[in-house]
Symmetry: C4
Subunit: 222 residues, 4 copies
């Protein structure tokens, strides 16, 4: 981040480059805050009078849906951050539409703590089906927003640096095409079994986080 005293034609070019940097830095901030805020939705359990360590242990273990939600949401936001970093490596400059689409995408990411909190409260209790559908459904929406953010700058290589090989873009295209579909399928599983739906999402997050093929980055859904 450098301050640019010039606003002439050359300055505009620099300003554009700076746009990308500051856009990435702002996005990183939102990612970092959303991922760290997840924890404040998990509240310490309360004991009744006369209860002690055994009951506290049981109450802490009974919070497993909250831990599971934290784990899946943390990994998923983490993967989204990694991908955001990855795709902005291809983008040479910003324009107002890219900024608008990025804002829309961040709106989705920053919302994630809410369905996570709903899931933590209802998984394993009556209402868990709707909680799991809302949780997976929101990730599906977020994956669609992520696709828009990726499609716009790559359409006719609108904002892509000239020396980025088309093959690199196509590889990301293929991965991003799968994202909303995979999330939708995982979400619909909740109609039959909410815990299974969550389990699939956890496995997906772990699979996407773990690299494969000698240093290459694993495909990610969104």
């Amino acid at each position: 981040m450098t301050t640019n005293d010039s606003a002439g034609p050359a300055g505009r070019e620099t300003a554009n480059a700076r746009d990308t940097t500051r856009l990435e830095a702002f996005s990183d901030g939102v990612f970092a805050i959303a991922i760290t805020l997840l924890i404040i939705e998990i509240r310490p359990p309360h004991l009744a009078d006369g209860e002690g360590s055994p009951e506290l242990l049981q109450a802490l273990l009974a919070l497993w849906p909250a831990y599971l939600g934290y784990l899946i949401s943390f990994l998923t936001i983490g993967i989204m951050w990694i991908n955001h970093h990855h795709i902005f490596g291809f983008i040479a400059r910003t324009d107002p539409w890219l900024v608008a689409l990025n804002t829309l995408f961040l709106l989705c990411v920053a919302f994630i703590p809410f369905p996570t909190a709903v899931l933590a409260e209802y998984l394993g209790h009556p209402g868990q089906q709707v909680a799991a559908l809302a949780y997976g459904g929101w990730f599906t929406v977020t994956a669609i927003a992520y696709n828009l953010l990726w499609r716009y700058p790559t359409y006719r290589r609108r904002l892509i640096a000239p020396d980025v090989p088309q093959a690199s873009l196509d590889e990301v295209h293929r991965r991003f095409n799968f994202g909303p579909v995979i999330y939708l399928v995982a979400t619909l599983l909740a109609l039959f079994n909410p815990v299974l739906s969550l389990g699939v999402q956890l496995v997906l997050a772990i699979v996407y986080l773990i690299p494969y093929r000698g240093g290459g980055r694993a495909p990610e859904p969104a």
Copy 2:
């Protein structure tokens, strides 16, 4: 951000440039945190004994004022961030008054989650009129603080880089003049219809976010 070992006259110049950078980075941090904190004001609904998925679905839908408040506040803070970025591109250096006015403006931005939470709780319920007036009123106050932040460095081009064309400043002047007026009008609408007032603010936020005229940035109220 570079560490500056020199504090001599030349060092002062560099320090001033660094001021802008660190001021922008600090402001970005406050923007990013305020925008992401909005979500923690939305709490999961609670069900009574014997209630399940249908009631949870209904309870989640009944939170629409919270979602609407989140949407408007997120977009509005996002637009303010974009504009902040934009106007600091014209500012060549800081001085203590600019820092003070920026602090005042950030104080307004960081306060936004509170009227948003009030709105989320009262829209659609008794008290919604005051909630909507407080919500819109605070954006009006924030728009005024934003105008002060913009008027000070541009007055007689006090802190403006020499090569910034006056036309660029005048264009922002025109837009910023409208900000407090538009917000005030939208706020006063709440006297007649609180939901309409919110609807207008949502439309404004979307209009300001969506770019127009081939890559140009849309006019923004604040």
Copy 3:
């Protein structure tokens, strides 16, 4: 922030410079988060059945202690951030003690939302005296921690860049000497009148924020 591949003697120098940068960036993050977290201590008021807009208006106005606490704490943390920026402009490199003292100081800053929340709940109610004493007392403690953070690098110019004029340091010395004393006096006023004590702290914050003498920075207590 640049990644430094070298860890030899020359690399150490660079690493030290980078230390200052990353220490400042981390501190900025804590400042920005602490200042923005203040708002979540203010909760929307709750109405009884049958109450509406007039009662909500009254309930919002009755939260004035919360607004006052937000205002004072925001301005004070803002001033501390400005000063932190200012004094690190003189510091050429870090060492482990500086990092430790900076951590201790940030611990004090990050704690501020708690006494602010206590003040918001008790000012104007029974217990307000202890709340005001705790509030002012914590700022006194923070001012002392800030003095330690400033005294250590300046003692015999231990970590100060060679070309910083001694007069610049002496000026900060004079200001920092006053800090804990002023806060202590303002705190003890709460023994007689808690609201007066808060009023003095608000005036102090405004005085310190407003620049004076043609572009110079106002003296700050801590």
Copy 4:
């Protein structure tokens, strides 16, 4: 942070260097947020009708477990931040596994506010033993995750800059080997005396923060 328009073979090298920078910046964000979020787990005490300053003072003092937890967690996260900074000074480039292990480690760090909140609520009350075991146990888990993050890039100097002396790595190896063991021992002390266990963890945090041997950094457990 510089925007890199090139994505050719040379660009890849630069991209890797940028990876480290952005990975560090993102990690710094998570550290700064987690450390600052600790405070919102401490809530103002509530008084009964007719109670005033003496009862508030007593209630504030009765929150000592919350202050102790804040102190230990803040210092420990602070030390982890310092160490993170330190070890990334040795790492020349990232790869997907390093990113994955760093995400896992940050997941542990961002979780710390929860066991801290449990400790604050139960220390000095029935259930304190489980609370102290959970608290220390989580730091043990975090120390293990930190070891994984350190072992991976240093194994056969996989991602280490060539000019980093092996002795520097070995020194960190020795320190990191102790981390999980020390935390495990401190945790198990809670089986006999929860307060003693916490006291040991506080002493450890202070010892690790305070530098020794003329400017050298103290050994740290994790």
